[in-house]
């Protein structure tokens, strides 16, 4: 067995020194993996706790300054308030902007947790990690966010060691992984991209009085709320671009796109979009899978 890497906790070493396997797979997935010649060697995990603050978050109601500029090349779009500049509490513009520093921090937290999990898998001599689950959550009232990545490390029965020494990873397990391989694709790694867009209402007066014009950029009843719609489109586009940049010619399989909106204050909201998926590579020419047969389940 390889040495346990330096930045893993001591208990991990003792856990791995043990001969028995542990697996986080459900029994059907466990059975399906054995069928495929994948033997679970251990439940592996990685974590990263991040301070989760707000940088560049001057009050949106300053009014004097020009609209915020995102980092170079990042998305930003602004709208003029129909009332113009009224007071310090009522700025003359509204804005959508990409929070690239939030994206960078997310990437740092996620990748650190992921790399630690991969280290655990490597020290077990694993060929791959299946059934990966990643979550993040706030810890108590600390203003900190914890990233968690967990999965089951597997060895390919009588298989060669991974080519570049790094285990492959996938969110799939069991029968869904079997179908993927049957269709001629091999898992390469998981991939995840995040985008964060802040929306400041273009008119705080309209927002507070719920006036005839909406606060988010539309004058007519029943019309599209332009500012919010654009933010939603932008956040999804950015997340997709981030993932596309990681694919390097491989395909994305089983992608899931989750967008969450959070109200941070009056006329101040944040959109976050996470795109996850499995990076897969064709390893054999298309092998027709058996003709599908409809079934009816009694359960």
């Amino acid at each position: 067995m390889a040495e346990v890497a330096d930045d893993l906790p001591e208990a991990a070493g003792r856990r791995f020194a043990d001969g028995a396997f542990s697996s986080g797979l459900t029994v059907p997935d466990f059975a399906a993996c054995l069928q495929m010649g994948l033997e679970p060697v251990g439940y592996v995990q990685g974590f990263c706790v991040m301070q989760w603050g707000w940088r560049g978050m001057a009050s949106p109601y300053g009014g004097f300054g020009a609209p915020n500029q995102g980092g170079p090349g990042s998305y930003t779009e602004s709208w003029r308030c129909p009332h113009g500049f009224v007071s310090a509490e009522h700025r003359g513009w509204g804005q959508n902007f990409e929070q690239s520093w939030v994206e960078d921090a997310w990437v740092q937290g996620f990748s650190s947790a992921y790399e630690r999990m991969v280290e655990e898998a490597t020290s077990l001599g694993a060929h791959g990690v299946v059934g990966l689950v990643d979550t993040s959550g706030r810890l108590g009232d600390l203003g900190v966010l914890e990233f968690r990545v967990q999965g089951t490390a597997v060895r390919v029965k009588e298989g060669p060691a991974p080519v570049d020494g790094r285990p492959w990873t996938t969110y799939l397990a069991g029968q869904r992984l079997a179908k993927l391989i049957e269709a001629g694709y091999a898992p390469v790694s998981i991939t995840a991209g995040v985008a964060s867009v802040r929306i400041w209402a273009y008119c705080i007066t309209e927002y507070l009085t719920e006036g005839s014009a909406t606060a988010w950029g539309s004058q007519m009843a029943g019309a599209e709320i332009e500012q919010t719609a654009k933010a939603h489109m932008a956040v999804r586009r950015i997340a997709r671009e981030h993932v596309r940049a990681q694919l390097g010619g491989d395909s994305l399989h089983g992608a899931s796109l989750v967008t969450t909106e959070r109200e941070l204050g009056q006329g101040d909201a944040e959109l976050q979009c996470i795109l996850r998926g499995n990076r897969v590579r064709r390893f054999k020419s298309f092998d027709p899978i058996p003709a599908p047969r409809p079934t009816v389940r009694l359960s």
Binding site: L8, P9, E10, A11, A12, R15, D18, A20, F21, S22, S23, G24, L25, T26, V27, P28, F30, A31, A32, L34, Q35, P40, Y43, Q45, F47, C48, V49, M50, Q51, W52, G53, W54, R55, W101, V102, D104, A105, Q108, G109, S112, R116, L139, G140, D141, L142, G143, V144, E146, Q150, Q175, A178, K179, P290, P292, R293, P294, T295, R297, L298, S299
Partner: protein, 265 residues
């Protein structure tokens, strides 16, 4: 019939006697019942064990992340007692094992710092009379459903016991100075990462130690749960659970999977 162990209530004794006369109770669904019969087991009765435990309190250092060993011990001991009593009931019925075990913790208004730990499941026995008890001569326990039990048996593994490990951990409060020092930046807090990481690894190692005592070849269905119970947000219990299994045969009787398109989801 053997004597009812002294620490089971009188009511249990009558109930279990009735069960010995052939009546069985179970919380299995119809499918689970049929699958358990299919692999040659018969349900004997619904068994349970409980323990009301005063988990107490432990002083925590405000600014220090540390394991609360007294609480860890209490949470572990209480579950162990509930499980042991459930095993006694199963033993009383002459069972080989207990399937579908669920572990719950309940809090009541009348008990401050006390909690009721309950273990329930369905005791089963092999129909051919071959003992499937574990290495310690006790009925095996597992949180597998009837479907999972069937599938596992087809892969040549049999359950040995529901194994668990726990670690109650206190996360340090951050001083004002520390918070201001890194204000406005999203950076890793390595001490926190290490502390929580260590806590989880401890829970998992303890679970693995239990499985080693059973001579298991592995643990399936590992789950890592996090609960704050009633301790406030800075104290977290990391509970790791799974079913220890042992390989009894290299013969895999599971049919080779075929690709199908299902009409339901």
């Amino acid at each position: 019939m053997s004597e009812t162990p002294k620490d089971l209530p009188e009511g249990a004794s009558r109930r279990l006697q009735e069960l010995e006369h052939g009546l069985f109770t179970s919380d299995l669904s119809v499918n689970e019942f049929l699958l358990i019969k299919e692999v040659g087991f018969h349900p004997l009765g619904f068994v349970m064990g409980s323990s009301i435990y005063h988990t107490g309190i432990q002083t925590r250092k405000w600014g220090q992340s540390q394991e609360l060993t007294k609480l860890t011990g209490a949470m572990y001991e209480a579950r162990e007692l509930a499980m042991a009593r459930m095993e006694e009931e199963a033993d009383e019925l002459g069972a080989d094992g207990v399937v579908g075990v669920r572990l719950d913790v309940n809090y009541y208004e009348w008990g401050k710092d006390a909690a009721e730990f309950i273990a329930v499941g369905t005791a089963v026995k092999a129909e051919n009379g071959v003992s499937h008890r574990n290495k310690l001569g006790k009925p095996f326990t597992s949180d597998l459903s009837g479907q999972d039990f069937w599938t596992l048996m087809q892969t040549g593994y049999i359950p040995q016991g529901l194994v668990m490990g726990t670690c109650v951990y206190h996360i340090a409060h951050r001083g004002l100075g520390q918070t201001l020092g890194s204000a406005g930046q999203n950076v890793e807090l390595p001490n926190f990462t290490q502390a929580l990481y260590e806590a989880r690894e401890l829970a998992m190692t303890r679970m693995q130690d239990e499985s080693n005592r059973l001579g298991a070849s592995g643990i399936v269905g590992v789950r890592l749960e996090e609960k704050s119970h009633q301790w406030g947000s800075h104290t977290i219990e990391f509970l790791s659970l799974g079913t220890a299994v042992v390989k009894t045969s290299d013969e895999v009787t599971l049919p080779k999977p075929t690709t199908i398109i299902s009409l339901d989801n």
